[in-house]
């Protein structure tokens, strides 16, 4: 078998087979199935990691080491009574979890997940179909993903406002405040790497950093990396910034009146968003993946590290007050991001 080596980007791109509709559909199904499963498994990992960090054991009784706990949780969520509160707006109440889950998965469409492969010819019906690594390889991938994650704020917002519950209203107010504010920091912090690379495509980012660890953008843009991580924690509603549904203050925030699978869809959406932010951070700042050999393992390791970091931080740090959140966003992170962009621009011009 002939081993093809690609010297430049152009020749590599020419060798990619044509992306067909069947390939995209297969890719979409793979993303849905695998990311849902990983999101479910993520809840198990989160409980285990938190338990170990607090010197506990975590789930132990369902299956070996509690591995089947997520199956038990799934059965519970699917069979629980589905309650729509009396004074709620039923249509919006029912559609809000769908918005959260759907936007989280739509964002994953423009993100590279798993390598390209061609289905072998001996499989009937689908043999020979090329499955791309990115379901929709748009050349403004970063913009699309950030936009989709921003659209995800309608889920908690509408959920909180439709459920006729004061905690829900507070939760949705915090959603609007937190997500809109940190959208600014996310965009500004990622703008400096975009200026350096000169493209909005994840593939271009990946190729810009293909020269080994030394070429990673984190060395050129450490401030942007830290800002993006902080904003990513806020965007995914993770612990130092989990004001939307903080139990000690607002019962469960926007998810107060939800039960069963509707609540579960918020959960899946949140975990899918965590994976998306981890992938963006890995591709934009930590060199992403390499196409040859087992280079795909590296991005899985990087994404796993960011996922673990979110659990680690949750076990370590207390969450902050809403006014501290706003103070941090507008008085610290936003000016820092702007200064970072200005300095990057000056360095690029000189």
């Amino acid at each position: 078998m002939e081993i093809v080596t690609y010297t430049t980007v152009e020749t590599f791109v020419q060798h990619i087979p044509e992306v067909t509709a069947a390939g995209v559909i297969i890719k979409a199904i793979i993303i849905l199935a695998v990311i849902s499963a990983i999101a479910g498994f993520g809840t198990f990992i989160e409980r285990k990691v938190l338990a170990f960090m607090q010197r506990r054991l975590g789930p132990m009784h369902v299956g070996p080491y509690g591995l089947l706990q997520l199956v038990a949780d799934g059965i519970k969520l699917f069979t629980k009574e589905d309650i729509v509160p009396q004074n709620a707006n039923p249509f919006i109440f029912k559609i809000a979890p769908v918005i959260t889950a759907a936007t989280a998965f739509i964002a994953l469409a423009a993100v590279p997940v798993f390598p390209d492969f061609t289905i072998p010819d001996w499989i009937p019906l689908l043999g020979g179909v090329f499955v791309p690594s990115i379901a929709a390889d748009v050349n403004i991938g970063i913009l699309f993903v950030l936009g989709m994650m921003a659209a995800g704020l309608y889920g908690p917002l509408l959920a909180g406002m439709s459920q006729a519950n004061k905690w829900g209203i507070i939760g949705s107010a915090r959603t609007a405040v937190q997500f809109l504010s940190y959208e600014v920091v996310t965009g500004l912090s990622i703008l400096a790497p975009i200026m350096l690379v000169g493209s909005l495509s994840f593939v271009d980012f990946n190729e810009y950093q293909s020269g080994g660890v030394g070429s990673w953008l984190i060395w050129q843009q450490p401030v942007a990396f830290v800002l993006f991580l902080i904003a990513g924690f806020a965007e995914t509603n993770r612990t130092p910034f989990d004001l939307l549904e903080h139990e000690a203050e607002v019962v469960s925030g926007y998810a107060t009146e939800y039960s069963g699978m509707r609540w579960g869809m918020f959960f899946i959406g949140e975990y899918a968003n965590m994976i998306t932010v981890s992938i963006i951070a890995a591709v934009v700042f930590l060199g992403g993946y390499s196409v040859e050999g087992i280079g795909w393992l590296t991005i899985i390791l990087k994404v796993a590290f960011f996922f673990f970091l979110m659990l680690w931080v949750r076990a370590s740090w207390p969450h902050i007050r809403p006014d501290q959140l706003m103070w941090l966003c507008w008085k610290v992170l936003m000016p820092l991001a702007v200064v970072n962009i200005v300095i990057t621009g000056i360095v690029m011009m000189v």
Partner: protein, 207 residues
């Protein structure tokens, strides 16, 4: 896990450390410098280090705090008053109870019932002995009054039952004869005090 921490009742003599929080900054510049110093101090990373250290200790250092309760149990204080045990003499294996009836007499909730008779050697033997655990308040008087250390409070603290009146028979509480070597002496109510030898005095024969 030892019992020392249970025995320490000196609540007021621990060493409390007061936090030195200092004064809140007054001017804007002081606030700014406080924010910068706190942000760059690395205290957040100390927090991260603590949790990852605990995780390592849990996984590899045997510092787990979880007791898988129905399968594992923590030791309880010997003075805890749980379900009664009837002890045997270590040498002969015969039960210690001499049928004196003091426990039945002193029981303030009238839950102990016993009946005795003379056996063929004109020795008193216990023919009936029940404790109604629906009534028992686990005061420990029976164990304290027993002259032979025969009835004691054991370590079985799971007392839930399906009936309010749950009787326990003599044979249920008696140490099984094949587990005689595992029988523990009782340190609680009515036990001989550790300095019992010092307290022995000559009988004043002058009376």
């Amino acid at each position: 896990m030892g019992l020392e921490q249970f025995k320490n009742r000196n609540v007021g003599t621990q060493n409390y450390k007061m936090l030195d929080l200092g004064e809140s900054p007054k001017t804007g510049m002081a606030q700014f410098s406080q924010v910068v110093s706190r942000a760059l101090k690395g205290e957040l990373f100390v927090g991260l280090w603590v949790t990852i250290r605990e995780m390592g200790g849990t996984l590899f250092g045997n510092k787990l705090h979880t007791i898988k309760y129905p399968f594992e149990k923590l030791p309880i204080s010997p003075r805890y008053r749980a379900i009664h045990d009837m002890l045997r003499l270590l040498e002969s294996g015969h039960y210690r109870c001499i049928g004196c009836g003091l426990c039945e007499k002193i029981c303030i909730s009238n839950c102990i019932t016993m009946d005795t008779r003379y056996d063929e050697n004109q020795r008193k033997e216990v023919s009936e002995y029940t404790i109604n655990f629906g009534r028992c308040i686990f005061c420990g008087y029976c164990a304290e009054v027993c002259p032979e250390l025969a009835i004691v409070h054991g370590q079985r603290y799971e007392t839930a039952s399906e009936q309010r009146a749950s009787f326990s028979l003599f044979e249920d509480m008696l140490t099984p004869i094949d587990k005689l070597n595992l029988q523990q002496e009782y340190d609680g109510f009515g036990a001989v005090s550790p300095n019992a030898d010092d307290n022995i005095k000559q009988t004043p024969l002058a009376y």
